[in-house]
Symmetry: none
DNA sequence: CACATACCCATTGACGCCCATATATTCCCA
DNA sequence: TGGGAATATATGGGCGTCAATGGGTATGTG
C-alpha cells in the first residue's frame, strides 16, 4: 500500500505535538521519513500534507515555466513561500505551525483524512461534516459510487 | 530538502543585522555557507537572494534570451551589475546593504519568502500582500494550483 | 579619529531528543 | 487454539541544544 487512506483522529498535546497516523508514516519513503510538507488547502479550511518527495516534482514543473514571466513568480510565490516543512520526531509526531492551525481552526484534536497521494488535516467536526457533504453531493449528482467502486477496467 | 521554502519574519537589530532563517542557511552548500548574493528583484520592490552557486544558473537563463534583444542587455545589466555579495556571521546573520533596504522599503523587520532555488526579502506587510495578490491572480485565471500540487506525473 | 564591521559572549524561548507509560495489536508456542 | 509475551502505537513529560536576538569589544580602513 502506497496511498494515504482512512481517517484518524489524534490528540494535540501541550507542546503542540500530534502523531502522524502510523499508516501514513509508512507511506513516506524511508529516506525522508522524518519530514513532511504542509500547506493550506485551496478550496477548504483544512491543511494538506504529503512527503517531501513531491516538492521536488513541483519545483521541476515550476522551473519549466518561463523564468521571466508573471506566472513564474505567481506560482513560485504561492507555492514555495506557502509550503511549510516540518520534522517528524522519533515517536512519529510533528508540530502543526500556528498559522495553519488557525487557518483550519484546529485546537486540541486533529483529524487526518487519506486522499490518495496526499492527506488532509481537519478540525474533527468540520472534517466529518465535509465527508458527509461530499458523499451527499456525489449521490445527488447521481454519480453512482457503486459504479465507480464496482466497475471493471 | 534542498529548496528555499516557507516564510519567516525576522528583526533587524540596531547594527543592521538580520538572521538568515536557519532552514535557508542549511540549503547553502557547506563550502560557501558564509556567503550569499543579493540583488534587486526586477519585477517587485523586493530583494532576491541565493547562494553564490546559483550565479551560474542565472547566467545561463540570461544567455537563453535572444542575444540581440533589448531584454538581453537590460537583464544582463540589471542583474549582474547590481549583484552584491554579503557575508554571514557565525550566528547566521548578515547585513542588508543600505541601497537594497531603501529599494525594498525595509526598516525594522525583514520577511523572507522561499522561492525554490532562491528567496525574496520583503518589507513584511508588502510581502504578505504580494503573496495574497499572487494567489488571487492564479485562482482568477483558473490555473489550478491544486493540479500542480497534487497531480501525478 | 570616526565609522563600519567582524568576532565573541549572553539570554530567552522553542524545538529535538530521550525516556516512560498505557493501550492495542501481533506473534508464538504449549 | 487459547493465552501470555513481545511489539507497536498514541500519548505524556524532562532536559539539553539550537535559533533568534542583544550587546560589548576588537579590528580596520578611510
Amino acid at each position: 500500500m502506497d496511498l494515504f487512506v482512512s481517517k484518524y483522529i489524534n490528540k494535540i498535546d501541550k507542546k503542540g505535538r500530534v502523531s502522524l497516523p502510523s499508516s501514513f508514516r509508512n507511506i513516506l519513503p524511508k529516506a525522508n521519513r522524518n519530514e513532511i510538507i504542509l500547506y493550506k488547502s485551496i478550496k477548504t479550511p483544512s491543511i494538506e500534507g504529503c512527503g517531501v518527495g513531491r516538492l521536488n516534482e513541483i519545483a521541476k514543473r515550476i522551473n519549466n515555466l518561463d523564468f521571466f514571466s508573471e506566472d513564474y513568480d505567481d506560482f513560485s510565490t504561492s507555492i514555495f513561500s506557502e509550503i511549510i516543512t516540518t520534522n517528524i520526531d522519533k515517536e512519529g509526531r510533528f508540530l502543526i505551525p500556528e498559522e495553519l492551525k488557525i487557518y483550519a481552526d484546529i485546537k486540541t484534536e486533529a483529524a487526518f483524512f487519506g486522499q490518495g497521494h496526499y492527506f488532509q488535516i481537519w478540525e474533527p467536526k468540520k472534517g466529518l461534516k465535509n465527508t458527509e457533504d461530499s458523499r451527499r453531493r456525489l449521490l445527488k449528482e447521481k454519480k453512482s459510487l457503486r459504479m465507480i467502486l464496482t466497475q471493471q477496467k
